[in-house]
C-alpha cells in the first residue's frame, strides 16, 4: 500500500535521514522506534507531505506521492497527527473537530458528527471548552481524533504517548487499539519499543537517520 524508497533528508550539513526504505501493507500497524533525534518524526512528516525529502520517493498504491502538499495527502487518505498536539487554540474542542469534518460535510452535519465522535471517545464533557483549557492528555486525544475524522487510509501517529502520565497513556492506547481493530493502517512512533508492544504488527528501529533493525 505505502512504499518508502531510498528517502534521505538533509538540513544544512546535517543528514537527518539516510536512504530509508520500507513497505507498509494494507491494515498493518508499524511500530517505528528509536532514540530522540533518530529521524522518526522527519520520516513521518515526509510521508505526510509536511516536509520534502532531499531525495527518494514515497508511493501510495504505486502512485508517486513524493512531496505532495499535506492537504493533497489528506485527500489521498494519508494523515499525520503531530507529536506536540497542534489544535486550533481559538476554538472549542467541538469546533476543532467540526472544522475538520467540514471538509466533507455541511456545517450543521459536521457539528452533529463531531458531537457523536466526542461522545464515542468519552470527550463530550470538554466539548465546549477552548483547547487551552484542556489537559495534555485530552489535547493528545483530540489531535488523534482530528486526524481520524479525515477518514484516513493511513494514519501516522507521531509519539502519541509523549509527555503523558500512566492514566493517559492507558486512555490513548485504548483508542489506538480501537483504531487497529477497525483495520486502519497505521505507523506509530515512540522512543521506547515497550510502549508499542501489542499495538504494532511489526517494528522498525531507527538510529542516526537509518533503519538499523527490522
Amino acid at each position: 500500500m505505502l512504499k518508502v524508497r531510498n528517502v534521505s533528508k538533509s538540513k544544512g550539513r546535517v543528514m537527518i535521514l539516510k536512504n530509508v526504505s520500507f513497505d507498509l501493507e494494507d491494515g498493518e500497524t508499524l511500530g517505528l522506534f528509536g532514540p530522540n533525534g533518530s529521524g522518526k518524526s522527519t520520516l513521518m512528516k515526509i510521508i505526510a507531505g509536511i516536509e520534502t525529502p532531499s531525495c527518494g520517493k514515497v508511493f501510495l498504491d504505486d502512485l508517486d506521492v513524493t512531496a505532495l502538499p499535506p492537504e493533497k495527502m489528506v485527500k489521498l487518505g494519508v494523515v499525520y497527527a503531530f507529536q506536540i498536539p497542534r489544535n486550533f487554540r481559538e476554538m472549542t474542542v467541538l469546533e476543532n473537530l467540526a472544522v475538520v469534518l467540514m471538509n466533507y460535510h455541511s456545517v450543521d452535519e459536521s457539528f452533529k458528527l463531531a458531537r457523536k465522535m466526542l461522545r464515542d471517545w468519552d470527550l463530550d464533557y470538554i466539548a465546549e471548552r477552548k483547547v487551552e483549557f484542556i489537559s495534555h492528555g485530552e489535547s493528545r486525544l483530540l489531535e488523534i481524533l482530528k486526524a481520524y475524522a479525515t477518514n484516513p487510509r493511513v494514519l501516522l501517529l507521531d509519539e502519541p504517548f509523549a509527555g503523558l502520565d500512566v492514566e493517559n497513556v492507558f486512555k490513548v492506547r485504548e483508542k489506538i487499539e480501537r483504531l487497529r481493530e477497525e483495520g486502519l493502517t497505521m505507523i506509530i512512533t515512540s522512543h521506547r519499543r515497550g510502549i508499542l508492544s501489542n499495538l504494532a504488527d511489526r517494528f522498525l528501529k531507527m538510529e542516526g537517520g537509518k533503519i538499523v533493525e527490522s
Partner: protein
C-alpha cells in the same frame, strides 16, 4: 441581537437630522471598511494596506464615471483587485501573507494619486462625481449588506476554515484545509466589501481625492479592532463609536483624534488583556 443592532445603526441617519445624520452616514461607511478588514483578520491576516482597496474602488468609479458616465464599471473592476494582487504576490513570493507589501502599495497609491490626471481633471484636487443618487441610502445599504455577509461568513465553512488557518496554518493543511483557496476567497469577499465602501465614500462626498489612500483609512479598522479586544464580531459598532468620537475630537482641535488613536494603540495590550481575562472567566467550565 447583533442583527438588530446593525439595523438600528443603519436606520439612525434617517431618524436624525442635519450634520449628525450626515456624520453617522459617514460612520457607517467607515464601519463597512472595518468589516471588510475584519474578514481578513478572521483568517489571521492583518491588513495595513486597506486604503488601497477602498481608494482604488473610489478612484476607478470616479474615472469610469468621467470617461463612460458609469460608476458601476469602476466598482466592478475593483472587486477582483485584491484577489489578483494576492495571486501575483503569492506567485512571486511564494507566501500567502503580505503585510508590508500591501502597506507599501497603499503608501505608493497615496503618492501616485495626485499625478492621476485625465484631461484637465484629477491631480491633487481629485475627481468630482456629480450625481443625484441617494448616497445616504447607499451607505446604509452597503453597511447592512456587508454586515449580513460578515455574519454569514463567520458561521460558514469558509469562516471556520479561516479561523483554523489563523490558529495554525500548518495544522490546518495537515487536516486537509486548502489554505490558498480559503485565502483567495476571503480576499475576494473582503475586496468586494471594501470596494462597496470605496464607492460609498465617493458617492457620499461626490468627490474622490488622494486623501482616500491615506494611512488613516488603513489604520482605522486596526484601531477599531484593538478597541474590541479581539472580538471582531463587534468591530462594526466599535468603528461607528470610534468614528464619532474621532470626528468630535477633530472638530475641537484639528488632528486631536490622532492622539486618541495613539493612546489606544499604546494601551491596547491592557485593553486586549482585560477583555481576554474576562473571556477566560466566562469560558472556564
Amino acid at each position: 441581537m447583533r442583527f438588530l443592532m446593525y439595523v438600528v445603526a443603519a436606520l439612525l441617519p434617517f431618524l436624525l437630522k442635519g450634520y449628525v445624520s450626515w456624520l453617522i452616514g459617514l460612520a457607517l461607511i467607515y464601519a463597512t471598511i472595518s468589516i471588510s478588514w475584519a474578514i481578513l483578520e478572521n483568517e489571521g491576516r492583518v491588513s495595513m494596506g486597506h486604503s488601497f482597496v477602498v481608494g482604488s474602488s473610489a478612484y476607478l468609479s470616479a474615472i469610469t464615471y468621467l470617461l463612460f458616465n458609469s460608476l458601476a464599471a469602476g466598482f466592478l473592476i475593483s472587486i477582483p483587485l485584491s484577489a489578483i494582487l494576492f495571486y501575483i504576490l503569492k506567485r512571486t513570493t511564494g507566501k500567502t501573507a503580505f503585510v508590508f507589501a500591501t502597506f507599501t502599495l497603499s503608501l505608493l497609491s497615496y503618492v501616485i494619486a495626485p499625478y492621476i490626471v485625465i484631461g484637465e481633471r484629477g491631480g491633487e484636487e481629485g475627481f468630482f462625481i456629480l450625481h443625484d443618487l441617494p448616497s445616504l441610502l447607499f451607505s446604509s445599504f452597503s453597511f447592512v449588506a456587508s454586515a449580513i455577509v460578515f455574519e454569514s461568513f463567520l458561521k460558514s465553512k469558509l469562516g471556520y476554515f479561516a479561523r483554523a488557518i489563523k490558529s495554525d496554518e500548518l495544522a490546518s493543511r495537515a487536516v486537509g484545509i486548502e489554505v490558498e483557496k480559503v485565502k483567495l476567497t476571503t480576499s475576494v469577499i473582503s475586496s468586494a466589501i471594501g470596494s462597496f465602501a470605496g464607492l460609498s465614500l465617493a458617492l457620499y462626498f461626490s468627490h474622490v481625492s488622494p486623501e482616500i489612500f491615506s494611512l488613516e483609512v488603513s489604520v482605522f479598522p486596526f484601531i477599531s479592532y484593538v478597541v474590541t479586544g479581539g472580538r471582531k464580531e463587534y468591530i462594526a459598532f466599535t468603528s461607528i463609536v470610534l468614528f464619532l468620537i474621532s470626528s468630535y475630537l477633530n472638530a475641537l482641535l484639528t488632528g486631536a483624534h490622532l492622539l486618541l488613536y495613539a493612546m489606544l494603540l499604546i494601551f491596547s495590550p491592557k485593553i486586549g488583556g482585560w477583555v481576554y481575562a474576562k473571556g477566560q472567566e466566562r469560558l472556564k467550565v
